[in-house]
Structures are given as C-alpha cells and as structure tokens.
C-alpha cells in the first residue's frame, strides 16, 4: 500500500485548506442593438463552495499590436495597464456532469471578475486547472457581477 496520498486526497486537502467560494459564469445569450449600442448579455451561474485560489501575481504591462505600431510609430512609451494573474483549481465533482469550462466563461471571486486565459481538464487530478487574468486598474464593468 502506498503511503503517498492519492490525487483525490490531495485535491480534497487543498480544497479544505485553501478553498474559497467563487462563482462560475457562462455566457448564454447576447444581443446588440447596433442603432443605440445597447447590449444585453445573459449568463448562467454556478456557485462553487471551494475553489482553490492560488496566490495572485500582479504586473504592469502594455500591448502594442501591428495596427498600433503602424499608426503611432513614434510613440513607444505609455499605454500601460496593470493585471493580476493567478491559477485556480476547481474540483470536477463541484460542477454538473459533463460541464466544460470554456474561455468565454468568467470566474467571480473576491468582488473581482477574472477572465479565463487557459483551462485544462485533468482527469488524473480530478479537477479543472485554470489560468486567470484580471485587469486591475480598469473597472471591468462588463464583467462586474452587479451588471450581469
């Protein structure tokens, strides 16, 4: 008999020690009125009692794509924003059967809404491994829980 804990035991221990309540949001409908600009968005929500939220890493960065550089070639500074990156693990058993976490889904945690950069289902661990991102110096109103 192995003395090492099984993956499911590890997941349970992590959930018990570090699990925090969060909400998973999945977009289900979206209508845009192109005359007025009014947006209507609908989300299905799943409350999860214990999501393993790993520590947050914050950094300051910028993104300049080709369109930006071709139009403003002389402006090579500025346009900085701050982002928080963190990993999270969700127990597969905490989600409905056959549930798939997609990149359009959102995770609401600690009054902030995180975008899902990557999602990876691990049958061996028995969980979804998520890489999350949040732009911290902008009000992410589109994903603010109050507006959904």
């Amino acid at each position: 008999m192995s003395l090492l804990p099984s993956h499911s035991d590890l997941l349970y221990t992590l959930k018990f020690d570090f699990g925090q309540p969060a909400e998973l949001l999945k977009p289900v409908a979206g209508v845009t009125n192109y005359q007025t600009g009014a947006l209507t968005r609908g989300y299905d929500r799943w409350k999860i009692r214990r999501v393993i939220m790993l520590p947050e890493k914050s950094n300051r960065t910028f993104i300049r794509d080709l369109a930006y550089l071709s139009s403003s070639r002389k402006f090579t500074e500025g346009g900085l924003f701050e982002q928080d990156l963190r990993d999270a693990i969700i127990d597969i058993n905490d989600l409905p059967n056959g549930f798939i976490i997609e990149l359009d889904d959102l995770l609401y945690f600690g009054k902030e809404t995180y975008l899902i950069k990557t999602s990876q289902k691990s049958e061996k661990v028995g969980g979804w491994l998520l890489k999350l991102k949040h732009v911290s110096n902008m009000n992410n109103d589109p994903y603010s829980i109050e507006t959904l």
Partner: protein, 158 residues
C-alpha cells in the same frame, strides 16, 4: 540659439490644454505621470513628440505631433462607449493651441507667447485610429487621436 525653456513651455502648454479640456469628462494623465493606482472605467493619456525645429530666412518653426491614447474598459451596457470617449478626446484638438511661459523660474512669466496651429499631414487634419480590444484576453479597448501642429516665431530667444 533657441531659448532653453522652449521645450518645457511647449510641453506644459500642451499638457495644460488637454488636461483642462478633457479632465471634466475622462480621467487624463500626461505620459510619464504616475496615476496607475486609480481604478477607472476609461482614461486618456497625452503624449507629444518633438519639437522639430526648422529655420527659414524669415523666422523659425517648431513642429510637434500630439497623440492621445484613449483606453476604455469593455462595456456590458453600451457597445459605442469607446467612440464616445474618442469624440471627447478629438474635440480637444483645437485649430490653435496657446503657448504660455508656465513654470516657476525667472523667465517663467506665464505670458502668452504664441500659438501652435494644426497642420495637414498627408491630407489629414486629425487622424483617429481605433485598435479595438488590445489583446485576446484583455477586455480593454484602445484608440489614438493624432495631429500635427506648427508654431512660427521670429525671435529665437522669445
């Protein structure tokens, strides 16, 4: 040669012009100014390049490029909020922008000493570039508003 304060007077006059006109509507910062910690829904950043000096027999000319970077968090209520912000930023590009001797030094008298006049650049007076969402996983939209200005003067020492 040119007055050693000219670059500072130009930069401070431009910064003051755009901050005065835009700040009642959108949080604004001048490039290099540190205001990152404020959470905001939208922001404008003022950037300037130049001056490039040209000398003529009848006088001198200082040319600058002004670039406003408009940033807007993606909105869940209205699809056209970036364009609203662009309109506010673009309307601050007046045909003339006054130059003043701002500062606290001996020569910084605060007096008006000239005007930048907007110039056509490849047939365009003001150029708006809309970049949309800046990254595939960054729910932030950006656009820039650009224009070139020239200031003509006869006395190098102003």
């Amino acid at each position: 040669m040119y007055n050693e304060n000219l670059e500072r007077w130009i930069y401070s006059s431009i910064a003051n012009h755009f901050v005065t006109l835009i700040s009642p509507f959108i949080p604004i910062q001048v490039e290099g100014e540190h205001k990152m910690n404020e959470k905001k829904d939208a922001s404008v950043e003022v950037r300037m390049n130049g001056p490039y000096f040209v000398s003529y027999s009848g006088g001198d000319q200082a040319n600058i490029e002004i670039n406003l970077l408009v940033t807007k968090a993606q909105d869940n209520q209205n699809f056209y909020t970036l364009q609203e912000k662009i309109g506010i930023a673009r309307s601050a590009f007046h045909s003339r922008i006054g130059l003043f001797k701002y500062g606290t030094g001996i020569q910084d008298t605060g007096v008006h000493f000239g005007c930048f006049v907007i110039q056509y650049d490849k047939g365009q007076l003001i150029r708006v570039d809309q970049f949309g969402q800046i990254g595939k996983d960054t729910p932030t939209l950006q656009a820039s508003v650009n224009a070139k200005y020239s200031f003509y003067f006869k006395n190098k020492n102003i």
